[in-house]
């Protein structure tokens, strides 16, 4: 990396700003040290690309608009292997196009950040309107079995913070990290405070000379060091099942060993990526589980419930994947019922049901998207599950 890429101080827009979630994601990326962004225009993501097209060239970075989202993620992976922190951003249709290369990123352990500003779907659906229907695609959209990290901001400030966090996690675990936001958070304007210093997440570099280096031999925490292009290590990187040398190995044993490691390197360290927020849960009988913009709307419903004498609280998922199973299981021991509020017809609610293992009823308050929930709808959901639990 040339020196200009590491002098980030002037690049970070420290101070207090009034900006949209999309803009905050762009600034979060810059603050985290991202100097490569490739994307294809799509609503409601375009503001991220537009801001980075303006900002990156001025701070020694590279912006390129690719011919489609497949190419956008491919370019991001190439840039990551050239040593840069790299990001792409899209919405549902483009997210679907990225799925094959998402698998390549998982298999080749390529750090990068992928933003999905969710909109109404399936298909072209509601290009300009909100939804949260890509949550399961985020988890299982690529082929094969893998583990991945996905974060869900609920405000422009959190969009900034979690973008920074996403880069740190992607370097820590050598995994693509998904920022699963939505059209409303992407387009809402709020106060965003950008700190004066944002520590840059380091890339794990080889600690042995090239002749001793095995590019896919993991450290004790199961993550291998990463030698990038042009650093003299001359490694082979392939999406085929490979051994520690990076050479293709078509045996069942090698495959099982590799896939298990790719999953375990993340699964074994939940404390490092499991984030959630608890609001008024101390005395709650009903817990609302939600994320993104739906979690903020849920606060209104909880207020209505409390006014009606129902002790409700919010469990806000900040990390969607891996799902915080333990925290949900413990939550279910404290409350009488759980209400999941989301802008799809039941995706994270399935995970919640799995996590609580039948201890309490899980009730979904769903809307397919196009608008956010009203506080009344959330309240009705709380009331219904409250009645059922009595």
């Amino acid at each position: 990396m040339s020196p200009s890429l590491t002098t980030r101080r002037s690049a970070v827009l420290s101070g207090v700003h009034f900006m949209s979630g999309d803009e905050a994601i762009a600034e979060g990326a810059i603050a985290a040290g991202c100097r490569f962004f490739a994307a294809y225009p799509i609503t409601p993501q375009s503001e991220i690309a537009e801001r980075l097209a303006w900002r990156l060239p001025q701070i020694g970075g590279m912006f390129i608009q690719m011919e489609d989202e497949i190419a956008a993620l491919a370019a991001v992976l190439g840039a990551s292997w050239a040593g840069m922190k790299a990001m792409t951003a899209t919405s549902g249709p483009g997210f679907s196009l990225m799925m094959e290369n998402l698998g390549l990123a998982v298999m080749t352990e390529t750090p990068c950040v992928i933003v999905d500003v969710q909109r109404g779907a399936p298909s072209t659906g509601l290009p300009t309107l909100v939804a949260q229907g890509d949550m399961m695609q985020a988890r299982w959209g690529s082929h094969g079995h893998y583990e991945i990290i996905a974060l869900c901001p609920a405000s422009p400030q959190e969009a900034f913070d979690l973008t920074v966090k996403a880069f740190a996690l992607s370097e820590r675990f050598r995994v693509p990290v998904l920022l699963m936001t939505d059209e409303v958070v992407g387009h809402m304007y709020e106060r965003v405070e950008i700190p004066s210093e944002v520590p840059e997440a380091p890339r794990r570099k080889p600690r042995v000379p090239p002749e001793e280096f095995l590019p896919f031999k993991p450290d004790p925490d199961l993550v291998p060091a990463m030698a990038c292009a042009g650093e003299g290590y001359r490694i082979h990187v392939t999406g085929l099942t490979h051994d520690e040398r990076g050479y293709p190995d078509m045996s069942a044993e090698a495959h099982d060993r590799l896939v298990r490691r790719l999953v375990d390197k993340i699964r074994l360290f939940p404390q490092e990526y499991t984030f959630y927020e608890e609001v008024q849960l101390e005395d709650a009988e009903i817990a609302v589980v939600s994320y993104g913009i739906s979690a903020r709307v849920s606060l209104g419903g909880i207020e209505l419930a409390r006014k009606a004498g129902i002790k409700a609280g919010l469990f806000r998922l900040i990390t969607a994947w891996p799902f915080p199973n333990e925290a949900l299981f413990r939550l279910a021991q404290k409350v009488k019922g759980i209400v999941v509020v989301e802008l799809n017809l039941g995706q994270m609610s399935r995970e919640a049901e799995r996590a609580v293992r039948g201890q309490v009823p899980v009730h979904g308050v769903y809307h397919a998207g196009g608008r956010i929930h009203t506080p009344e709808e959330v309240f009705q959901g709380i009331e219904e599950v409250y009645r059922r639990c009595r």
Binding site: L5, G60, E67
Partner: protein
């Protein structure tokens, strides 16, 4: 030392080094390619070109897609990337833009680069992206068992055109030239030296450059089209190819049984993507931070 003492043979073997050994991951040999396949010839011509260019091997990156040609990257003792089907070009684009001092080469096949990856090819050419693309065209999908591809000549039999192909194929050199490539050549694996020269020219030429290599695939293509041995297809090339440098690539269609053109079709200068990017930033005077990243390594 006499043969009887049993030491002569090992010494002779130890002296017989492959001239390109330093470029190869010898621990990965033998390769997977079939007898008679043209990929070995194309790869050695590529490596002879690298020898000729004399670049630091640490500065050369090879990116491949999927397929028989896509396996080439894995045999090279360089930084090599075996990516998803059709996506070698955008991967290489990201790599080059993030580290312009590297020499980035895409080495892949006709199906990978022009069917599933066709869109990326034309857009990289349009941008005059600073990468070299080598396409080993064997007229079919060899890895998957010999199916119809985007370059299969009309009339050819493949496993998915059992009655003969009735799709018109791409004329790759015409496509590359039309899309904006600034160096375009076509040779066959019969012409090792000309191939080496073309590779060296393409790799050292600024912007998006393209070399098509016609290569026999006796297993996938040849045996269904009366070219059962690799040599049969080479003989076909010898009998039908016409060298015409500077010819209009439009006239370079490959039609079964008819003469076809090879040679250097395009060799022009045009500002490359990185050149224009850097020039714009200098014009904007956005400070020393701006040109460092993308300007480095550019002459």
């Amino acid at each position: 030392m006499s043969v009887k003492e049993g030491k002569t043979t090992p010494e002779l073997v130890s002296e017989a080094r492959h001239p390109l050994e330093r470029w190869l991951r010898t621990d990965r040999l033998p390769h997977i390619w079939c007898p008679g396949c043209g990929l070995g010839t194309a790869l050695s011509a590529f490596l002879f070109a690298l020898e000729e260019l004399g670049w630091d091997p640490d500065s050369v990156v090879v990116v491949s897609g999927i397929g028989c040609a896509g396996r080439a990257a894995g045999y090279l003792k360089l930084d090599t990337y075996h990516t998803t089907h059709g996506r070698a070009i955008p991967f290489a684009t990201g790599l080059k833009l993030a580290k312009p001092e590297l020499h980035v080469v895409v080495f892949s096949g006709d199906g990978d680069l022009f069917a599933i990856g066709g869109n990326h090819f034309i857009h990289a050419a349009r941008r005059n992206m600073d990468i070299a693309v080598i396409c080993v065209n064997n007229f079919n999908y060899g890895m998957t068992g010999g199916q119809l591809g985007p370059t299969t000549p009309v009339g050819s039999r493949t496993t998915t055109s059992p009655f003969g192909n009735f799709e018109h194929p791409f004329n790759l050199v015409h496509l590359a030239a039309s899309a904006g490539a600034t160096y375009v050549a076509r040779w066959t694996t019969l012409d090792g030296r000309r191939l080496t020269k073309a590779f060296a020219e393409a790799l050292s030429h600024k912007g998006f450059t393209f070399v098509e290599v016609l290569a026999p695939c006796p297993t996938g293509y040849g045996r269904r089209n009366r070219l059962s041995e690799g040599l049969d297809e080479l003989r076909y090339y010898q009998e039908h190819m016409v060298i015409r440098h500077g010819a209009d690539p439009k006239e370079a269609d490959i039609v079964l049984g008819k003469p076809f053109l090879v040679g250097k079709f395009v060799d022009i200068e045009k500002p490359s993507y990185l050149e224009l990017y850097r020039a714009k930033l200098q014009e904007l005077e956005v400070g020393d931070g701006a040109c460092g990243a993308v300007g480095k390594g550019l002459s």
